[in-house]
Each structure stands twice: as structure tokens, then as C-alpha cells.
């Protein structure tokens, strides 16, 4: 599916169901306010409250859908803006706090590098949220000597990280996301470092050269 097709679907859902559901919920809430001043039967009030909860749940699920499938617009937006967007979405969805610092990030970053940084951060935050057992994360994004660098850290549970030197990983299935990050960075001639041990938190550091060969594939393109 192309970015344009996906954007169209997201827009259709925005223009249709979101508006209908929000409007229906507004009308319903108004009716409930009116009825609260009368001696309406308790079972009727309870069923109206149930209808309200169903409508709210639908909106809640659509919110996740829109957030997940709305294309990040890698081509148009600068890397810092894309990363801020991902951090805000992560905070909204998980209720966690992400401390983001950016420094000297170049305005012009190759598309493949933007996508790689986005995917690595997405995976690292998702891992941290699922496994670290803490609700606070630190993310740094900076430019340095022809590279763009990303660091994602937490003070959580930590674990014994796999070696990325070709040694067979007994927990390969559990670590598939980590291997994916490593391989994605290697494909762009970057460096990937994972520091972790039980009880001592986790830190992922990635450095990607801004000079990329024209032949490097942008990977999975603009699809989310």
C-alpha cells in the first residue's frame, strides 16, 4: 500500500466515523444531562451510560488506529520533528515520560537515515515499555562529525544482551526486535551498541553516517 492510499484511508476515517461518533456522544451526553433532572428509570439511565461507554471505546480505538497508520511523512518533515512526534505519541499511549534532548541535528538527513532512526527509536521505546518495568525514558538525538546519533536509555530491569557477532543467539525469537535494529543500522554502515545487564537498566546507542550511497534502499518506505 502506498503512502497516498494510506493517507486517504486515514482521512476518510477522520472525516467520517470520528466526526459521527464525537457528535453522537455530544448529543447523548446532552440527553443524559436533561434526564438527570427528571426521575428517569434507573435501568434506562444505565443503558444510556452503556451506549456512551461503547461510543467512547470506539473513539479510543480509532485514536490508536489514526496514530499508528497516519504516515509520518518522512520526506516532508525534518528528523527532529518526526522524532518529537513519535515521542509524543509514545507518551500519549503509554502514559510514560520520555525526556527528549536534541542537539545540532542537521536539517538535511537522507531519507533512509530518517527512517532508520525512527524505526530504532520506535522499537527501543516499545521494548523499554514492555520489559523495563519503568515509566521514564531518556532519548538523545544529536549530530556529530558527519553522523546522526541516537541514544535511548532507561533505569529499568535490564537483561543479558545477545552478542551481535554472528554467535548463535539461544533467545533469538525473544530478541528478534534487537537483531532487527542491529541489522537495519548495519545496512546503512552505522554502529549499534546495546548496553544492559540485569538490574542496571538498558542503553541503546546508534550512530549513522549522513553520507549514504545512492544505492541504499530506504527500506520500508513511508508506510508506518
Amino acid at each position: 500500500m502506498t503512502e497516498e492510499e494510506l493517507a486517504r484511508i486515514v482521512l476518510d476515517i477522520h472525516d467520517g466515523p470520528v466526526q459521527y461518533l464525537f457528535s453522537a456522544l455530544s448529543l447523548l451526553t446532552g440527553v443524559q444531562n436533561d434526564l438527570a433532572e427528571t426521575d428517569v428509570r434507573a435501568d434506562v439511565a444505565a443503558r444510556l451510560a452503556q451506549v456512551g461507554m461503547l461510543l467512547e471505546s470506539s473513539l479510543y480505538e480509532i485514536k490508536y488506529f489514526l496514530g499508528t497508520f497516519r504516515p509520518p511523512e518522512f520526506r516532508r518533515r525534518k528528523l527532529v520533528s518526526i522524532i518529537e512526534g513519535l515521542v509524543v505519541q509514545h507518551e500519549e499511549w503509554t502514559g510514560s515520560t520520555v525526556h527528549l534532548e536534541t542537539d545540532s541535528v542537521p536539517d538535511e538527513v537522507p531519507l533512509a537515515v530518517k527512517i532508520a532512526v525512527y524505526r530504532v527509536l520506535q522499537e527501543a521505546l516499545s521494548n523499554a515499555n514492555r520489559h523495563a518495568g519503568v515509566a521514564e525514558h531518556w532519548v538523545r538525538l544529536w549530530g556529530e562529525a558527519g553522523n546522526v546519533c541516537l541514544e535511548v536509555a532507561d533505569d529499568g530491569r535490564g537483561f543479558d544482551p545477545p552478542a551481535f557477532d554472528g554467535t548463535p543467539d539461544a533467545q533469538f525469537v525473544d530478541h528478534i526486535g534487537l537483531h532487527g535494529m542491529h541489522d537495519r543500522v548495519a545496512l546503512l554502515n552505522g554502529t549499534f551498541k546495546l548496553e544492559s545487564s540485569p538490574g542496571l537498566g538498558t542503553k541503546v546507542t546508534v550512530s549513522l553516517p549522513l553520507q549514504q550511497q545512492a544505492s541504499v534502499d530506504a527500506g520500508d518506505g513511508d508506510a508506518p
Binding site: H14, F22, L27, V88
Partner: protein
Amino acid sequence: MNSPTPAGKVRVLLADDHALVTEGLRALIDRQPDMEVVQIVQDGHELIAFLERSPAVDVAVIDVQMPLNGLDALAEIRRRGFPVHVLILTAFADGESIQKALQHGAEGFALKTESPNQTIEAIRQVAQGRLVFPRAAQRWMLPSREPASSSPELSQREVEVLEKLARGLPNAEIAAELTVSENTVRFHLKNIYEKLNVTNRTEAVAWYFREHRRP
């Protein structure tokens, strides 16, 4: 800014090209004892034209996705200095929109993917001059003035008050936790604002969060 008289109702303008949304919200707002819809417009151009001839609006609730999009209309409202509080109402809670809403001087940001009751409450807050943004917006809430110094000398007590403020506690709860009166809390807040060179709670909390990021 216009301030509704204590006995008066908050006068609300709705700007959205989805007629269903404005009708639904109007039905809900007009049932509130403290607010009323005074005008509905369907795009940013109509919104600007209306405010130009009739400034008697306390809160403008503005959709983002409409002809002359809501964020551009907001920028125009601030450029022309219309005395109205602005609440952005949208389905997309993306960082770019939140940041633009803040930069262009909105006072609030509410979501169509959440209960309309939250929108009503946001209108109420914004009308009182409070900022209502998703928690994630804190990173962009910089006071317009530079702090008096990079590390103002806050007393131990003031630091405690500021920490509680940053947890979102109202004065009464801060007072209860410190076992002091609300007046004492207000006294500390006044000193904190002076030392940080800020004018309100939001700016003080924004200062706190900036200072407490890990180096």
C-alpha cells in the same frame, strides 16, 4: 482578553466544517449553566471575518482540518490581536499540531477522540485563562521571558511547593500536604513566580520540568 462577567456566561464560537460536530457540541454547550454558543462558522475565513465585526466572543473552539486550516486561522487571530481565548479541537494528537498550536498562541488543545465532556471542561478552563494541553506538550511550554537567572535561589520550602505544583496539585492540596494554610501557599507561589520571572502556574511548572531533565 475578554473576561466573562462573574454572572455572565462564557460566550463560545464554534469553527468546524463538520456540521454534525458543531450541532452536537452546541446541544451540549447550551445545556451548561455557565456557557452558550454565540456563533457557528464553517471555515477559517468566516471565523476571522466574524471576529473582525463582532469581538464579543470569550472562547473560539477551532477545528484544525477545515478551509483555511485552524492553525493558520489561529496565527491570524493572534497577528490581528483579537481578544479571544482559543481552544484547538482536532482528531489528531500529533506532536507537530500540538507544537504549532502552542507556538501560535492557543490556550488549549482538545481531542475529538475523547469524551465531549473533556472539551466542555477545556472550554471552561481556557475561559479562565488556564492552559489546557496534553501532558506531552510540556516540552514546548517555554516562558516568553528569560528567567531572572539560570539558577534562581529558591528556598527549601519554595522548592517543595514547586514540586507539588509540578505534580498538578491545587493550592488546597499543597497546603494540606505541607500542613500550612492556603494563604501561605499563595505567598510562596508569589515569591516563586518573582524569582523565576514567570507569571503563572503553567510557566512555573514548565520551568520546573526544564530544570529537572537529566543532564
